[in-house]
């Protein structure tokens, strides 16, 4: 028991920390309006990364036209919302069907192609999509300007029947389905407990908005119990956890029902527009619409990300997920094991594209403008990089990739040109560079530290002596050049320090002599430098450097194939003869 707890605790801690951070993010002090909006965009890209990860990371297929399926979802939502007045969240199933169906139609004939051909064909489809929507194909895409005025998302007021009953039914169905292998006590008893406490809270206290608390409680109970089941906690433990959740929510709701109801109604007024009741399919519902404020939308996107994540994890462990793994590692062996590789790949394309379509709906609902340039090749590359730079197949890698490819470039937009030499910034940047140098020079730390010291001296002396902060900029270039050239120099000569020392001395002397007269010109050209002009180039350079330094990505996936080879490396003596050991691990 304690061993299994230790096994699950570490990955859980990281995920829980990230989840907690994601939950409070919009209310952190540095999040202004534009950054919250950026967080929403980043969330949409995380979803795109997850969907593409299914195709590229799990199934090992090339897809450099993912933006087309994102775009299909967005255009479907926008067209249905503008032309047919369908509320945008209701278009999600349609958009997913359109994107997934298109993926099946398109990829069916090309899936047998070799990797690189597939890559170029997916680029071709992406370009055809872009050219098509730019030229206003079928007269419904609005041409180069795109479509304006997609509606903001609406949902029914959650505590007016029949919404609570529907939600409860959904949760119970899921619960009963997911716990189908558990005993009757956990399965039916747990379902009954959830249902009873769900209605007990709002009815006993006679406060309808408390249904919101009930919904949260039901979802938490569902997630917690299934997670405990997946981690082999005993049925008794599962029941105790379930009772605990129910009791906790019941106590909180009972003790603070007044403030909770006021808070719920207050935030409803603050963040949403409550519309007049309308009749949908013979049932009266009250529509609640999102406003411009990005914060509620952030939680909507976060919810979709969590649903996607859970779905991905379950898929990964399913029969289909294992089939993807085999196809990725060795297609011939997979075929020999009786896996229909075409169907399996097709499934990856279809599911991944459908999720991208859903992300497209979220995009259309947030930005209300859908235009061709949001779905061009650069976007496909960004999505591809999110998956591969972070580490193909790795979910934390997607977060890192999104931060690097989407968030960082947008934040750079705010950075003024004098960022490089303001305050403590030059020292911090230099420390990062030298830290990287020291890190990569493990084993000969003394020499590396001396080199770093020399570089740091040449970096700090001229600006400090002359009192011209702008001289930090050539200093940074000098440090970069020195650190790039160091390995080459080391290969040629034994006496690195002499070379570094003399080069740094020459630099420092030149700067000391010429710095005073150079500074105004330098100031002018630094001020004229606009980072947005160079953004793509910096991104490209970062892509090359990242790949050269870490070809498997920042946070590589823990390859499940490795488990096989780990077994094969230290086998019990009797197991060596077992032929099944020559599986995935050996084929790598």
């Amino acid at each position: 028991m304690s061993q299994s707890l230790a096994r699950i605790s570490r990955p859980w801690m990281g995920s829980a920390l990230v989840l907690a951070l994601a939950l409070v993010l919009p209310y952190l002090p540095f999040m202004d309006r534009s950054r919250t909006s950026l967080a929403v965009l980043a969330g949409i890209y995380v979803m795109l990364g997850l969907s593409l990860n299914l195709i590229v990371g799990y199934a090992g297929l090339f897809q450099l036209g993912h933006a087309a399926f994102f775009g299909l979802g967005a255009y479907t939502a926008a067209i249905l919302s503008i032309e047919h007045n369908i509320t945008i969240l209701a278009t999600i199933p349609i958009a997913a069907l359109v994107a997934g169906g298109a993926a099946i139609l398109i990829s069916k004939p090309i899936l047998h192609l070799r990797g690189d051909y597939l890559c170029i064909v997916t680029i071709a489809f992406g370009e055809i999509f872009r050219i098509g929507v730019t030229n206003n194909a079928f007269g419904i895409t609005g041409g180069a300007n795109g479509l304006f005025g997609a509606g903001r998302p609406e949902f029914p007021l959650p505590w007016v029947e029949p919404v609570p009953a529907l939600v409860l039914a959904l949760v119970l169905l899921l619960y009963v389905y997911l716990m189908r292998k558990s005993g009757p006590v956990v399965r039916w008893g747990g379902a009954g407990l959830i249902a009873a406490s769900y209605y007990l809270l709002p009815l006993a206290l006679d406060q309808k908005p408390l249904f919101l608390v009930s919904i949260v409680m039901a979802v938490v109970a569902l997630v917690l119990v299934t997670a405990l089941r997946d981690h082999h906690v005993s049925p008794r433990g599962q029941m105790i956890a379930l009772v605990g959740v129910v009791a906790l929510f019941g106590l909180i709701a009972a003790a603070r029902s007044g403030p909770i109801v006021t808070a719920i109604e207050g935030s409803l007024d603050e963040y949403f527009n409550v519309g007049a009741p309308t009749t949908v399919l013979g049932v009266e519902v009250t529509p609640v619409a999102f406003r411009r404020d990005a914060r509620p939308y952030y939680y909507l996107v976060l919810g979709f990300i969590l649903i996607t994540l859970v779905g991905m994890r379950r898929l990964q462990d399913s029969r289909l997920g294992r089939a993807w793994l085999y196809v990725r590692e060795d297609q011939l062996a997979a075929e020999a094991m009786g896996i229909d590789t075409t169907q399996v790949k097709l499934a990856a394309f279809a599911i991944g594209s459908a999720v991208a379509g859903v992300a497209g709906v979220l995009y259309a609902g947030r930005f209300t403008v859908v235009a061709p340039e949001s779905f061009n090749f650069l976007q496909s590359v960004i999505m591809f990089c999110i998956v591969v730079l972070g580490g193909s197949g790795s979910i934390p890698g997607i977060l890192v990739g999104t931060l690097g490819m989407v968030v960082l470039p947008e934040l750079l937009r705010d950075v003024g040109p004098n960022f490089l030499y303001q305050g403590l910034n030059p020292a911090v940047i230099l420390a990062l560079l030298l830290g990287l140098h020291l890190y990569s020079a493990r084993g000969r730390l003394g020499g590396a530290a001396l080199e770093s010291g020399v570089i740091a001296a040449a970096f700090f002396v001229p600006p400090l002596v002359l009192g011209e902060r702008v001289l930090y900029v050539p200093g940074l270039l000098m440090a970069l050049a020195a650190l790039t050239l160091l390995p080459i120099v080391r290969r040629r000569t034994g006496d690195v320090l002499l070379w570094v020392g003399s080069a740094a001395a020459v630099y420092a002397i030149v700067m000391l002599v010429a710095g005073k007269s150079l500074a105004p010109d330098l100031q002018r050209s630094v001020t004229a430098f606009r980072i947005m002009d160079w953004r793509d180039g910096l991104m490209g350079a970062a892509m090359v450097v990242m790949m050269v330094l870490r070809p498997a990505g920042m946070i590589p996936e823990r390859r499940r194939g490795v488990m096989f080879s780990a077994v094969a490396e230290t086998p019990a003596p009797a197991e060596i003869a077992v032929p099944q050991q020559a599986t995935v691990g050996d084929a790598q």
Binding site: I110, E127, L389, G537, G540, M543, V544, M546, M547, V548
Partner: protein, 310 residues
């Protein structure tokens, strides 16, 4: 009929450019099995460098068109050749054993860098070549109203000369034989005493140098360009290489001509068959053609069926 002949000649000229750029893709793919996404942008750098030379340095040195263009061609080829070798050294060689995903990202990154630098060098504006270059070449009259401009003939001749020269180089010389050996198997080539790294470097010099030359020629032919030229043109040239069967030099040439001719033909005859805005869809032709060919003949027109290595 006369329009057809005229369009055929136009298509052949464009196709010649596609073919020369496709040669670079196909050679690199042959030795490394890598889509060199930076190749299109190196081609654009050829146009850019040629523009820079012809409008500044060489414009002052000589008033002879031909001498200036020849000098520019030599310089551009040297410059782009070194650029290609540098990119191979920096962005591709460290990743040679790193799987299939990483080199693609690295290649795209190199392409972004080239494009971004070009954008800033050219101030993101359309740039024009000096007017009147080679315009005094005599026009060739074929039939009554069909004529070929001397410029077109020259371009076509240069392109054909490049292709034939490269084909002979690869088929007849020792280094060419080494290239073919490397494209078959790196390790066995190494056992045969071939310096694989040097051969790959050489491929990355020749391919981009020829691409850069094509860039210079297309600058002279069209007269104006901007920094986005490389991406679309490069992608189409790559498609041309696939059409003919990648890794195959005659195939790249065939693919280039097919692509050039079909583009001009669709733009010319599209309105007649009910495609009113055919020129707006021009760029899509290459992609549709690619998909059609790959469905029908997955290894291209002249490509041989190769079992994927296991």
């Amino acid at each position: 009929m006369e329009t057809f002949l005229q369009q055929l000649i136009n298509g052949l000229t464009i196709g010649g450019f596609y073919a020369v750029v496709a040669l670079g893709y196909t050679m690199v793919y042959g030795v490394l099995k890598l889509i060199n996404f930076a190749h299109g942008d190196m081609f654009m750098w050829g146009t850019l460098a040629g523009w820079g030379l012809l409008t500044t340095v060489l414009a002052g040195l000589t008033d002879l068109d031909l001498a200036a263009i020849l000098a520019a061609a030599v310089l551009v080829m040297a410059f782009i050749g070194v650029m290609g070798m540098t990119i191979e050294r920096v962005a591709y060689r460290p990743l040679r054993s790193a799987g299939r995903l990483s080199p693609i990202i690295s290649a795209l990154g190199a392409a972004f860098v080239l494009q971004s630098v070009a954008r800033n060098v050219s101030d993101a504006r359309w740039r024009t070549y000096p007017p009147g270059l080679l315009k005094e070449l005599p026009n060739l009259r074929l039939t009554g109203s069909v004529s070929v401009s001397g410029l077109q003939v020259l371009m076509l001749l240069v392109c054909v000369a490049i292709m034939v020269g490269l084909y002979l180089f690869v088929q007849r010389t020792r280094i060419g034989t080494a290239m073919r050996a490397v494209s078959l198997d790196h390790n066995v080539s190494r056992l045969m005493g071939i310096n694989v790294d040097r051969i790959i470097s050489l491929v990355f010099m020749i391919g981009p140098a020829l691409g850069g030359l094509a860039g210079l020629l297309i600058g002279i032919y069209y007269g104006s360009f901007n920094f986005t030229l490389g991406w679309v043109f490069g992608l189409k040239a790559f498609i041309a290489a696939i059409l003919g069967g990648i890794g195959n030099i005659p195939g790249a040439v065939l693919g280039g001509f097919i692509l050039g001719i079909s583009e001009t033909m669709v733009v010319a005859y599209g309105p007649n068959v009910g495609l009113a805005d055919a020129s707006a869809w021009k760029d899509a032709i290459a992609y549709v053609l690619l998909i059609a060919i790959l469905i029908a003949r997955p290894t291209g027109l002249l490509g041989e069926t190769v079992a994927e290595k296991v």
